[in-house]
Structures are given as structure tokens and as C-alpha cells.
């Protein structure tokens, strides 16, 4: 009975492809979902330019435009979209409680977590300090400021290659610093990067320090060769970090089961260790991490939540029937 007193049937946290697809399906199932956008509204696609692997757009579609469409589509069927951030959740009591930055609260019978993942920093201190002054995790946001200047991209995966290639539009030279002597990136991205005359590779190396010019701007990096231990200094104006992502799960730690890397553990579809709590998208997927797989898992979470809610009300109804019978 307590569960039926909730403010909401379903609340969705996160507004990337997973969250918005979950919202679309929940809305069409008449569950009148509330979707909390979060600080990084629209998710990682808001940081991209042309998306060429979203089916249905043969010429590609701009990431931010795709998200604007998805949002409008979710709203069209009755999703209530709320700006702002969740600061605390209580998943131990039912209905679940969600608390917002302003102190407001909402209770819900089912929760879909699609908070995604955020770019990792180097964790050497000097990178964070110079964020916005030469150190960036978003090439499409900040590449513009480095016209005609030498820069570095840190990382060896697909996103590092994508950023490096994109940044050659602005930078005079792009040095890719990678910990190994081979790239993790897909063959097609590797070939593209290797063929680009503006890109050079610094293998087996990591960034030991980002140098401050003394005026609060990046002056260069100190690179440590991991095989020889040798340190060398590379003067440059910008450092773009593309060493992967961390799942945004700190809100849920201790309340639902996470794996060793902080990703939410799901089983039989989108179910988490707490019945009634579902997870979709990059917050529970460190393998595929595509817009289309995120959207697909968002759909799964919505269908799983719908089924869960039906079951909940069957139980409520039978409880009422039993009560009446006695």
C-alpha cells in the first residue's frame, strides 16, 4: 500500500540517449514519467559534432541536434522534464526518495538510472588546475581556442583519435601521447590518424605534469617515458585529455550493487540489485558505449519498469482482495 502513495510511478535520472528513450517508452505506456536532466543535460552527444552511426540518418546528424529531437519526442508523449541535479537518493525505503539541489524531494515507485559517464582527468593535479586555461576534455568545445598552436591529445582509444583528427582543423600540430606502443583505437580511426600529417605519436609515455606559464595558462607538458623513465618537456598551448570515462554512480554507492570500476551491475535486462531500480546506458555499460546501445537499453529499462509496476499493482490488488475477504 505504501508504494501506491508515491508522487510518481517512474522517475528517470539522466537525459542522454538512454534516459530520453526510457522516457519516451514510459510516456507512451501512460506512466507520466519525470525525467531529471542533470548538469550535463543531453549527455555525451552534446559534446560531439557529426554522428554518422545513428541509423536513419544517411548523411549523419549533429549530436546536439539529435538530442534536441529526442528530448522533444519524449516531451510530446507526456514526459515531464526537470532541469537540475539530484543530490541524494534513498533506495532503501519504498517508495524511493529523490532529493534535488534546491532541497525539494519526490517519491517514486520505480527508478531508472541513466546518469552516464563523464570524462576522466589525469589525476595529477596540475591538469585540473589549468582546466579551461589550456586543459580540456572536450575538443569540440575548446579546439577553437588553439588556432595555429601546438597541442597534445592524451590517450590511444577511438575518442582520442577522433579528437586528434578533429583538432588538426585548428592546431598547427597535434602530439598524441599514449601509454603503450600500439593504439587501442579501431583500425579505421588508426589509419585516419596515422595518415594525418599534422599528427605525431609519442609512444610508451604518460604526462607527468602540465606546466603553467606563470600566468595561469598551459605552457607545455612534461612527458615521462614509461620504458626508460626519461623525462622530456614539450612546449605547447593546449592539452586534450581522452583517456576514458568514469560512470556517474557516486549517488548510488552503498545502495545498489556496483562492479569494481563503479559501473552499476545489471541482470536479466536492466534490473539492478534493488527491485524497482533499473539502469540503462553508459552507467552500466563499459563495453559497447554507443548512442544506439544506450538508447536500446533505455527502452529495455522502460519495459522492465512497466512490467515491474504491473506486478506491484497486481500484488496490491490481491492484498486488498485478501483484506476484504477476511
Amino acid at each position: 500500500m505504501s508504494a501506491s502513495r508515491a508522487d510518481r510511478r517512474v522517475v528517470i535520472i539522466g537525459s542522454g540517449p538512454a534516459g530520453l528513450t526510457a522516457a519516451l517508452y514510459s510516456a507512451r505506456a501512460n506512466l507520466a514519467p519525470l525525467l531529471v536532466e542533470g548538469l550535463e543535460a543531453g549527455g555525451q552527444l552534446m559534446l560531439t559534432t557529426m554522428v554518422e552511426n545513428w541509423p536513419g540518418f544517411r548523411d549523419g546528424i549533429m549530436g546536439p541536434d539529435l538530442m534536441t529531437e529526442m528530448r522533444a519526442q519524449a516531451e510530446r508523449f507526456g514526459t515531464e522534464i526537470m532541469q537540475g541535479n539530484v543530490t541524494r537518493v534513498d533506495l532503501q525505503h519504498r517508495p524511493f526518495t529523490i532529493e534535488f539541489a534546491g532541497g525539494d524531494r519526490v517519491t517514486t515507485e520505480a527508478l531508472i538510472i541513466s546518469t552516464g559517464a563523464s570524462a576522466k582527468w589525469l589525476e595529477i593535479g596540475s591538469d585540473r588546475k589549468l582546466s579551461g586555461h589550456g586543459v580540456s576534455t572536450c575538443a569540440t568545445c575548446d579546439g577553437y581556442f588553439f588556432r595555429g598552436k601546438p597541442i597534445a591529445v592524451i590517450g590511444g582509444g577511438d575518442s582520442a583519435m577522433e579528437e586528434a583528427i578533429y583538432l588538426t582543423k585548428f592546431a598547427s600540430k597535434v602530439s598524441v601521447v599514449h601509454r603503450r606502443d600500439t593504439l587501442r583505437a579501431s583500425k579505421i580511426m588508426q589509419d585516419k590518424a596515422m595518415a594525418n600529417p599534422k599528427i605525431e605519436f609519442i609512444w610508451d609515455s604518460e604526462v607527468a605534469e602540465v606546466k603553467d606559464s606563470g600566468k595561469g595558462e598551459v605552457a607545455g607538458i612534461i612527458v615521462r617515458n614509461l620504458k626508460t623513465g626519461h623525462l622530456s618537456e614539450l612546449p605547447l598551448d593546449g592539452v586534450f585529455i581522452a583517456i576514458g570515462h568514469t560512470p556517474n554512480t557516486s549517488l548510488f554507492a552503498g545502495q545498489i550493487e556496483l562492479d569494481a570500476n563503479g559501473y552499476i551491475k545489471t541482470n536479466s535486462g536492466s534490473r539492478t540489485s534493488v527491485p524497482g531500480v533499473f539502469a540503462a546506458g553508459d552507467v552500466q555499460d563499459h563495453i559497447y558505449r554507443q548512442a544506439i546501445t544506450a538508447a536500446g537499453s533505455g527502452c529495455m529499462a522502460a519495459l522492465d519498469a512497466e512490467r515491474y509496476l504491473e506486478g506491484l499493482h497486481d500484488i496490491d490488488a490481491s492484498a486488498v482482495a485478501t483484506a476484504h475477504a477476511s
Partner: protein, 116 residues
Amino acid sequence: MASEKVKTFTDSNFDDEKKSGVVLVDFWAEWCGPCRRLAPTVDALATEFDGRATVAKLNVDENPTIPERYAVRGIPTLLLFKEGELTETIVGLRGKEDIAKMIERHLGAGDVRVAR
């Protein structure tokens, strides 16, 4: 779609516009996804602080000089000026409550005294 309460700063009017009171300037560009995300927050702040603080936007594409002066190399960046002096910098996205608190802090004591 920007609220009319948000002022538009340029390379040429910047120094004049920011010289008195508490002034929040949002450095942005059309092509910047996170800037689009921050835009509604900046609009809301302009309404919230209407008459108490100035909230403005500066397009970095059209106005390269001011971003260069403050070493802005990433957007969105929010700079807060008090009586013309740079007092706070926020790089990247931040919630409305956080930014509002920062503005309040600088409106603080001085305003109360004037009110008395």
C-alpha cells in the same frame, strides 16, 4: 531565445559595462554544446538577480580580445566581476544554486549597508 534580462557584452563595450556592481559574464559560442546547456541557467539567473547584479553573455567567436585577456581557453566559462575587478572564475557546467550562491556572496555586506 536568451532572456532580455541578459545583457550582450562585446570587445568594445566590455570594460565600460563591467566596471560597477556585481557582473557575471558567460563566455560562449554557438557551436559549443555545453554552452547551450548552460544558457537556460544563465537566463534564470538574470531574472533572479534583476536589479541587483548584471548578467551578461559574451560571444567568443565575435569577440576574441576579451577572452584572450582573461586567458579563457575553454567554454562555457563564467567570470564574476565586482566593481570592475575579476573575483571568481567557473569553468564548465555548474548548477544554478551554486552560481546563485556565488553571486549572493559578493552582493553580501556592501549592499546591506547601502540599504540601511
